[in-house]
């Protein structure tokens, strides 16, 4: 056997370079050739939006746009925005994304702009603008409501859902007196965001009702989190926990476990996004579920809602036009919309769309409550869920959720929470 070290060295070196090249540089999975493209699409799975839902929806959109092959990417958690950042940092930014928070990506020029022509089918086309430009298809509205166990309310002698904040406190007291835990709130493990819903509601009623552009004013330095209005909103949450109306066990429950806890009757009220109505209809709990908007002090509506949630397209996609075409096809396909409404109880904001006739009672009641708030001009921003120019700086929503955990556990006062938010704001925007 002859040995040829030089040849071996060359082969080994080439192999190693190839290996190193494969690992460090093989990030661009999108290709485009002759009107055909392979595009990556970032999705996220939840108990409502499972793999089967996404696969079927992708297949329907692909059938409408010939030449596109879609490679589905799934965010490891519901935080698809955080995952998109990780992918971006390693040069693997997806071509198409759904439900992404465009903040940061938009300003950095990483997203393709939707034109007025692209947006002509949308009811509220300029719901989320960044410096006047739209980067996300505003295809649906979601709002935060209080879902309640009608049996528990009846047991506690509560005839009608609370219409003022005082009535909400009275109802909570009656439930507690009957040995029923008033509120189920989550926020454990990786799902700390799930503890935000009571604060989203109190900020809507106590801050945004009066000052709809409060966050924009915060950005301009005109208001602070330590201002009385915001502290009052945080104080309401702290008081609910202090009085034992919010079950502190929720601080260890994941989002899915929190929903299950409400289903299992571990609390009478469940402040949650309107998407819960899909779950309540599809898999009915052992009790009747009702819905009401978190009440203001005086009873006028202040419902936290956000319109957006649709597709964003990378400005660096191999074929931006084809990617936008596919994204719009996905977004505007009636069967996809019906599936999204069924699976996630979306209130679709596309002209001419009507939900399927066989929607469940909780969804119908949710939409009716939303329409009532809308007609009374009572829909306001949803704190920490806003997108567009008047949204929280990147990373601050997670910090707020961590602060709320401490607020709920009694380790932080409302004033301290306000000061904490101001200091985190300063850090996030330095």
């Amino acid at each position: 056997m002859t040995r040829n070290p030089r040849l071996l060295s060359t082969v080994a070196l080439a192999g190693a370079l190839l290996l190193a090249g494969c690992t460090a540089g093989s990030t661009d999975t999108s290709t485009s050739k002759g009107g055909k493209a392979t595009l990556t699409f970032l999705t996220f799975e939840t108990p409502n939006l499972d793999a089967k839902y996404w696969d079927a929806a992708i297949a329907r959109a692909s059938a409408k746009v010939p030449g596109v092959t879609v490679k589905k990417l799934v965010s490891p958690s519901a935080d698809r925005t955080g995952y998109a950042k990780q992918l971006d940092s390693t040069g693997q930014f997806p071509d198409i994304m759904i439900g992404l928070n465009p903040a940061g990506f938009a300003e950095a020029g990483k997203l393709a702009e939707w034109s007025d022509e692209d947006l002509e089918n949308y009811i509220d086309p300029r719901a989320n603008t960044y410096d006047g430009k739209v980067y996300q298809l505003p295809y649906a509205t979601q709002a935060t409501f209080v879902y309640y166990n009608k049996n528990d309310f009846a047991k506690a002698g509560i005839d009608t859902p609370p219409r003022t904040y005082k009535e909400l406190l009275d109802a909570s007291a009656k439930l507690k007196a009957k040995g029923i835990n008033p509120f189920v709130v989550g926020g454990g493990g990786k799902d700390s965001w799930a503890d935000m819903f009571p604060l989203i509601c109190t900020v809507a009623t106590d801050v945004y009702k009066e000052t709809p552009d409060w966050l924009a004013q915060r950005r301009a330095g005109k208001v602070k989190f330590t201002d009385p209005a915001f502290v009052a909103a945080a104080q309401k949450v702290a008081d609910l926990a202090e009085k034992g109306y919010i079950d502190r066990a929720g601080l260890s429950r994941s989002y899915a476990d929190t929903e299950q806890a409400f289903r299992d009757g571990k609390g009478a009220m469940y402040p949650m996004g309107s998407w819960f109505s899909a779950s309540a209809d599809a898999k009915k709990p052992s009790f009747e579920t009702g819905v009401f908007a978190w009440p203001t002090d005086h009873g006028s509506p202040a419902l936290p809602g956000v319109t957006g949630g649709g597709m964003t397209v990378s400005s660096k996609a191999s074929d931006v036009d084809l990617a936008k075409k596919w994204a719009k096809a996905f977004m505007e396909d009636e069967k996809n919309l019906n599936a999204a409404v069924k699976a996630d109880a979306l209130i679709i904001a596309i002209k001419g769309y009507t939900p399927p006739d066989n929607m469940g009672p909780v969804y119908e009641e949710t939409v009716a409550a939303y329409r009532r708030a809308q007609s009374a001009d009572g829909v306001v921003n949803s704190f920490s869920q806003e997108t567009g120019d008047g949204s929280l700086p990147p990373g601050l929503a997670d910090k707020a959720a961590a602060g709320v955990q401490k607020l709920l556990s009694g380790g932080m006062t409302a004033s301290e929470f306000g000061a904490y938010m101001d200091s985190q704001w300063t850090k996030a925007t330095r």
Binding site: P5, R6, L8, S9, A12, L13, G15, A16, L17, L19, A20, T23, A24, G82, K85, Q86, D88, S89, G104, F105, E107, A108, K110, G187, G188, G189, K190, D191, S192, R248, A249, G250, L251, S252, R253, S254, D257, A261, K266, P394, G395, D398, K399, A402, G403, Q405, K406, S409, G411, M412, Y420, K427, A428
Partner: protein
């Protein structure tokens, strides 16, 4: 063969051949190490001197600003302190528990062979899987508290929801997963101790405790070194369990570790330059602690 070549040039040629052979076999590994470890460390170090924020270009050189900011950053100091506590607990629990279990399993028979595998299973599992399993046990209305309630405890602890407890709970989960590794290393160490030494000590009148102190413990010095250094490194790198079990909470930074803080700062806050400075500090700390521990423990190996 060239008979005229001097012994010196022959030695040189042999040495060259040796180097070539080394390059052939080591180059792939070295290049992968270079590409996946050294180059990222270099890039991270370079970023640590900048204000890099991929969503807010351009990037500027800021010198030591990031490092000096870390000194007064409460969140970073909290994460550092949490990391030290986790590392301390993990190192002590895995070593003490691992040694105790190894001594129990240092016997012949199919039962002991099977138990060795059982204790090693958590090491093979993903930290995420282990954390999810423990989460179902430790949540407020999970298996453990249900059992405690059945036993009459009306208000069992909030293992993951109580800010005063959560850090110790996370430490326990990390330690539980690491014990199996220590068991295997200690078992190998125990089986390497000549039986004659135990017999000689017994003949000299040593009881079990004296035999452990004067024979087993000194002879296990290399195993102690490996386990301690590996536990220290594992503790300093703690991330997965924190992410799954508590997401750094409950409350701001309650269970946040250095690695967790780096990821949060870089990917949630977009402050890549600042997060890189944290990562560099973490690297230096891990390296320093490991080198010091290794030096001290190896000295003990020689003296014992």
């Amino acid at each position: 063969m060239d008979l005229k070549r001097s012994p010196r040039s022959l030695r040189r040629a042999r040495s060259r051949d040796g180097l070539t052979r080394f390059a052939v076999f080591a180059a792939p590994g070295l290049l992968v190490y270079l590409a996946l470890v050294l180059v990222p460390i270099g890039i991270t170090t370079a970023y640590s001197f900048t204000n890099k924020n991929p969503f807010n270009p351009p990037t500027h050189w800021v010198g030591l600003d990031n490092l000096t900011s870390l000194v007064s950053d409460d969140e970073f100091r909290k994460a550092l302190w949490n990391t030290i506590i986790i590392t301390g607990i993990v190192t002590i629990v895995t070593n003490a528990g691992g040694l105790a279990i190894a001594m129990l399993l240092d016997r012949r028979g199919w039962l002991y062979n099977m138990l060795r595998s059982v204790f090693f299973v958590p090491v093979v599992l993903s930290a995420v899987v282990v954390s999810v399993i423990w989460q179902t046990i430790l949540v407020d209305d999970g298996l453990l508290n249900s059992k405690l309630r059945q036993l009459g405890m009306s208000d069992p602890p909030g293992w993951l929801s109580n800010p005063d407890l959560a850090l110790y709970t996370v430490s326990w989960v990390i330690a539980w997963q690491g014990i199996g590794f220590c068991v295997v290393i200690y078992l190998a160490g125990l089986q390497g101790i000549p039986q004659e030494l135990h017999e000689a000590a017994a003949i000299d009148g040593c009881g079990p405790m004296m035999r452990f102190r004067h024979v087993t413990w000194p002879m296990l010095a290399p195993a102690v070194t490996i386990n301690t250094v590996m536990s220290l490194i594992g503790g300093f790198k703690a991330y997965d369990q924190v992410q799954v079990l508590t997401n750094g909470g409950p409350g701001p930074g309650t269970t946040s570790t250095l690695a967790f803080q780096v990821v949060q700062t870089a990917f949630n806050g977009n402050h890549v330059g600042y997060a890189s400075a944290m990562a560099v500090v973490m690297l230096v700390l891990v390296a320093a602690v490991s080198v010091i521990a290794l030096g001290l423990l190896q000295k003990r190996e020689v003296s014992s």
